[in-house]
Amino acid sequence: MTETLLAMRGIGKSFLGVPVLSSVDLTMNQGEVHALVGENGAGKSTLMKILAGVHTADAGTIELDGRAVSFTHPLQAQHAGVASVFQEFNLLPELTVAENVHLGREPKRRGLIDRRAMVDATAAILADLGVDDLPPTARVGSLSVAHQQIAEIAKALSQGADLICMDEPTAALADAEVELLYRLVGRLRERGTAVLYVSHRLKEIFDLCDRITVLKDGRLVDSVATADITPDDLVAKMVGRRIESQFPERLPGTVHGDVRLKVAGGGNDYVDGIDLEVRAGEIVGLAGLQGSGRTEIAEAVFGIAPFTRGTVEVDGAPVRITRPRKAIGAGIALVTEDRKAEGLALWQSVRANARMVLDANARVHSRRRLARVSDLLASLDLVARGEDQEVRFLSGGNQQKVVVAKWLAAEPGVIVLDEPTRGIDVGAKHKLYSVIRELAAEGLAVLLIASELIEVIGLADRIVVLHDGRIAGELPGGATEQQVMAYATGRGPE
């Protein structure tokens, strides 16, 4: 028999007079894995942060284990048994795993920090999670993303958490690492630790979660057992309309023309032996596990960490791309993985950001292209107060549209998209999928990188699978996930 662990009732919250949540209820049982879903801006993160004590609700009550609580600081939430693993990593790279796990709650002996106890306690938690390849004394800055996440979960557990909030925990993980997270969540459930799970990925939600709560526009839509709902119905509840097919069909009139991007024998410190061709009108998907060299190929093509071996040709002409400026001059665009850190100047206006590539490169700057920027933004269905609005106020999906616009403004012949739909809502995702199809139809060569295999499979005409910095195999579009994974994990063709 399970007991109610958490009951949030009638939660309301506004920022600067703008309501973000109104009258939302959420109940969770002990040991339950509970998904919180909704489009970006639906209020998931705000609700989670109210639970974690980061924000304080304007209205409503929170009961934990039957006691009314009210948090004004994350520390209070921690004391009450609510811990959080947030989207932005919550660790200090300069400190060790053990120091991070105990940060803010260092064990003391005679008034002083007891470092030995810190290491021992961390080792015990990691052992309990079944993790044996993560030394507590390792500096966090030297760890892989997956290991950093384990450190975060260890931190939450060491806080004695009964309830762990996870905000997009798999956003930065490759599929194999997601397996590890699945195991950890299963282990947490066995221990009786409840998990509140925010994710955009339907597969995870259906694989992992017992119940699902759907938010839309700051209001509760439904809260159902996972067994009682299908993925299609869930998406329909999230967006308020049913998206008929997740990926748009290839547009009529799309033809594969001449080779626009050709890499022969490309290699550097991170990848090697890369032979790659992308034709006009073609969408080539790059698949592989985290760290397999996907992003590194994008960075090499774009001149961030250039190829030191092999040759690159754009539209048949050999080019030596040693830095981004040269890539841009050669007609290559790169939509980077991390739009806030690498794509946008957040305090500048939509217009300034959308013109940035034109402003920065005399070779692509022209009055005609500048004049086109507004039309481009409109064609991407950008929702903003106007072109003067600072991009930091836009939702993730609209920010990504600004990034895409800034590159399309330069009218590239080759566009590399690295995780273009990461962390954006379903509606914006769908729009971007259509845009990618349109770009292909216009004759651009598209190189698409995505850690969600389904995206690569659904959109790409050809899939190049990487393993350990090399090309492991090539598959036609529409291949199965099993086929891709066989190459990605180094097992060869299925």
Partner: protein, 332 residues
């Protein structure tokens, strides 16, 4: 060639002590060529004496810089403290404990003001401490036209007594440094300073009261500036408002960054700072012995600081570099 050798990297603190040894050796050679001996007692005393004043200021400065803050007001605080000390003592040995308490209180309060404005009003520390520095300067300039107060002989000992070649003030400074090292490593507040400087959001999310930690760093920084003021009073035998014209705060910041503490916070420590202070002191003494124009000292000091930080910046780049999978030349 199957296994790449991992060259062991020197820690930053080890590097800075190596640099100190290098500067000492080079200085000794230069002085010897000039026919002198850098390690003659008089020179040693000069060198060690120079470390104490900057040392006190730099120890406190290390704490605030670790928290990703800054204190440009320490020179003014020290000057004010020297006046508080000398006027409170007023020539009476019996007043010394009261004077020390008064100095620590005043300087601690200045630090608290800096910390509170920075932490709770969200003012950039550069602006906060520039502002408090100017406020103190205005007060000093208006209130004190010249030296004031009288330091009794017994307290002047703090400025002049030596044990062998080692001045007592230097010993006190080293003791304060040791206490600060211990504080950063073993107390929660000290440990949390690295977290606050490394990433304030992460620290806050971990339940660290970042404001309090920053406040504590500023209070301690103010108090070390107070101790520096006590030393000034002991040396001059009187309180001196003019002391702030020596731009001690810049020396302190120079010593801290020379000692390998990241100006952006979160990394470094007092051990490195002490070496940074020592390097500056050795340079000063060598210049003194060689009778080089004092203005050349400023030029060299400027160059040394830039060079040191440039070297650290290079090392920092190496640290963050990704591990190569295909080292050059290994590919088939």
């Amino acid at each position: 060639m199957t296994q790449r050798l991992r060259t062991p990297r020197l820690g930053t603190t080890a590097l800075i002590y190596l640099a100190l040894a290098g500067v000492l050796a080079a200085g000794a050679v230069a002085v010897a060529l000039d026919g002198g001996n850098l390690f003659a007692t008089a020179n040693l005393v000069d060198m060690l004496t120079r470390t104490s004043l900057t040392g006190f200021l730099a120890i406190g400065m290390t704490l605030v810089i670790l928290c990703r803050s800054l204190d440009l007001s320490v020179g003014y605080t020290a000057a004010l403290s020297s006046l508080v000390a000398a006027t409170t003592m007023d020539g009476q040995a019996a007043n010394v404990p009261l004077a020390i308490a008064a100095v620590l209180l005043v300087s601690g309060l200045i630090g608290a003001a800096n910390g509170a404005v920075t932490a709770y009003l969200g003012v950039n520390p550069f602006i906060t401490t520039l502002g408090t520095g100017l406020i103190i300067k205005g007060y000093l300039d208006t209130q004190y036209k010249g030296p004031a107060g009288d330091v009794p002989a017994v307290f002047q000992q703090f400025g002049y007594t030596r044990i062998g070649p080692v001045p007592m003030s230097t010993l006190v400074m080293l003791a304060v440094a040791a206490a600060a090292i211990w504080f950063l490593r073993s107390s929660r507040t000290g440990h949390h300073m690295y977290a606050v400087g490394g990433d304030a959001d992460v620290a806050r999310m971990s339940g660290i009261r970042t404001g309090r930690t920053l406040l504590a760093a500023h209070v301690l920084c103010g108090m070390t500036a107070g101790v520096a003021g006590l030393l000034l009073a002991a040396r001059f035998g009187t309180g001196s408002a003019e002391a702030y014209t020596n731009l001690y705060e810049l020396d302190a910041i120079a010593a801290v960054v020379l000692g390998g503490t990241l100006l952006l916070g979160g990394r470094g420590g007092v051990a490195g700072t002490v070496a940074g202070v020592a390097i500056l002191a050795v340079l000063d003494t060598v210049f003194n012995v060689l009778q080089i124009d004092p203005f050349a000292k400023d030029v060299l000091r400027g160059v040394v600081i830039i060079a040191a930080v440039a070297i650290y910046a290079r090392r920092q780049l190496d640290r963050t570099a990704r591990r190569p999978r295909f080292a050059e030349g290994r590919a088939s």
